[in-house]
């Protein structure tokens, strides 16, 4: 029996039973994985990005594999916030696993309407504000500008008593500034990071593989070093919990995020190739903590030396 306390307190009463969550967009709303693995053991399910109205999603092709990674341009296909609040949430309420609904919209008042609609439903542990979707018009506007991100979070903070996690975009010059702005505006935690804008070219056709502007969000092991650096920068910028995400596919990957400064993690793209990988990472983290005599996984955290003047 491990002595380690693996619980993670994200704030406002949202205490995850363990640090291993599954990332938005890689787990739907849990219903498919429920048929494949024991989802109740997970630390949290971060749902598919949920928008004010249902969305059909982008035309295909929507995914393209790259070296150690995957580009996607799904376009936030989802049934809309009303359906999630009135139908899906009833299942969430029966589940042991905390469900954190990822919310995406194009305007401040739409985010506010979404969380108010979801507030009426039980079974939702927290919200993850998606201010960083690269695949819809205006999807990244909030995530790119600290002031705009702060205004959005302030408005949503005033609208809901529930825990607010803000998912940061890596496609910025200084991610720490955005993280600080959302902390100051009342975010309880941040998750870092969303996908990186990328492109795959079809040489034979002399055009990108993905439609529209030809770009998509890059995820998978290819982005792990970039995500680790982002987590370290965010950790240095804020005091609130940091949920690390980006290319985690093994226990070692997950441990590296705790060293870089994460309080919890999300497993994303790896779920597609290996539906039970998140549970194996959970078991591995538990065993590691016990073997290393850790009280908490955050004991692994690296303390950077001050930069030379």
């Amino acid at each position: 029996m491990s002595n380690a306390d693996l619980r993670v307190d994200l704030g406002r009463g949202c205490v995850l039973p363990n640090p291993v969550g599954v990332a938005s967009g890689t787990f739907g709303y849990g219903f498919e994985f429920e048929q494949l693995i024991d989802i109740q053991r997970l630390g949290a399910i971060y749902t598919k990005g949920t928008t004010p109205l249902p969305r059909e999603g982008n035309p295909p092709p929507r995914v393209a594999e790259t070296a150690g990674g995957m580009l996607n341009s799904i376009g936030l296909q989802n049934p809309g916030v009303d359906h999630v609040a009135t139908v899906y949430a009833a299942s969430f309420a029966r589940w042991h696993v905390p469900v954190i609904v990822n919310v995406a919209a194009a305007a401040v008042e739409e985010y506010v309407r979404c969380v108010r609609t979801l507030d009426a439903a039980d079974g939702i542990a927290a919200y993850e504000l998606n201010i960083s979707c690269p695949n819809i018009a205006h999807g990244m506007d909030f995530g790119l500008d600290p002031a705009a991100a702060g205004r959005l979070v302030q408005a949503v903070r005033g609208a809901t008593p529930r825990c607010l996690v803000v998912k940061l975009s890596p496609n910025v010059t200084e991610i720490g500034a955005v993280a600080r702005a959302v902390e100051d505006a009342g975010a309880d935690a941040v998750s870092a990071v969303n996908t990186f804008v990328g492109m795959k070219v079809h040489l034979g056709l002399r055009r990108p593989v993905l439609p529209n502007r030809g770009t998509g969000g890059l995820s998978g092991p290819a982005v792990k070093p970039l995500a680790l650096a982002a987590v370290a920068r965010v950790r240095a910028a804020v005091r609130i919990p940091v949920v690390g995400v980006g290319g985690i596919a093994s226990v070692e990957d997950a441990l590296e995020f705790f060293v870089a400064g994460a309080d919890a993690i999300q497993v994303g793209t790896a779920n597609f190739a290996d539906p039970s990988v998140s549970l194996r990472i959970l078991d591995g983290l538990t065993a590691y903590a016990e073997a290393a005599g850790l009280q908490r996984l955050t004991d692994l955290r690296w303390q950077p030396a001050p930069l030379p003047a």
């Binding site: 092709p61 929507r62 995914v63 594999e65 990674g69 995957m70 596919a249």
Partner: protein, 281 residues
Amino acid sequence: MLSSLSRARDETGEVLRVEQLPGGLVELTAHLPHLAATARAGEFAQLRCGPGPIPLLRRPFSVAWVDGESCSFVFERVGAGTRLLAAMRTGDMLGSLGPLGIGFTLQPSMRRVVCVAGGLGCAPFPLLAKQARTMGVGDVVILHGAATAARLYPSERFVRGVDGVRVVESTDDGTRGHHGLVVDLIAAALSDGADAVHACGPNPMLAATAATLRDLVAPRIVEASLEAPMGCGFGTCLGCALPVRRDGGTAWALCCREGPVMPMDTVDWDALRALPPAHVA
């Protein structure tokens, strides 16, 4: 309709043999008892092509044949994943998640099932023929076309000793069988009546099959097995969207769970044709 995931299981089994067939086709057989016991014709498995992370994702393959506890898959070397699979040796371990998706409709009351197999679209039909005959379907006619004789899937591999299975071949260049397209064979095959037409092959061939059947007295059950670039294979990544007709317009359906086999009249063939060729790599 969404496929059930309740039969899907992640299992790892030994590769029993990898056969290099004429024309660059490869047939890989592995010990996968769960898939062998549960797969229905037209359903697929997500195969792990290597230890990763390159390639990162699994690749979807129709279950081509089941013998005892082993399953066979037929493919071509088209990319990194299939090249790794083709290079596997006896004794290597293969990961399989399946069975997944919706397969072909088969009913014991069917007197005749006509299959239209273009090129690699041969893959689901050996198992279909066996399962159809086992459940009591009268006979199975497989129309199989390829660019040239060397690229035809060997007819004895469709049959594999199952009686009541007949193969009619065509080649674009006339090197074997009918000189022309496989869809040219459909009218004759239906002339004595059939209860279902099941097709698998490149999108243009499937679209031509659908168009041909519109001009004939087609059976009630007419289905096509489609493909799309897939991330997960079980409905969460939402990557494998295909255009279908719904409520008078075009909507997206997931190939992995609303397919890969769909009634032909639900597919929006014009929209499918308009997609960039890279859509099916």
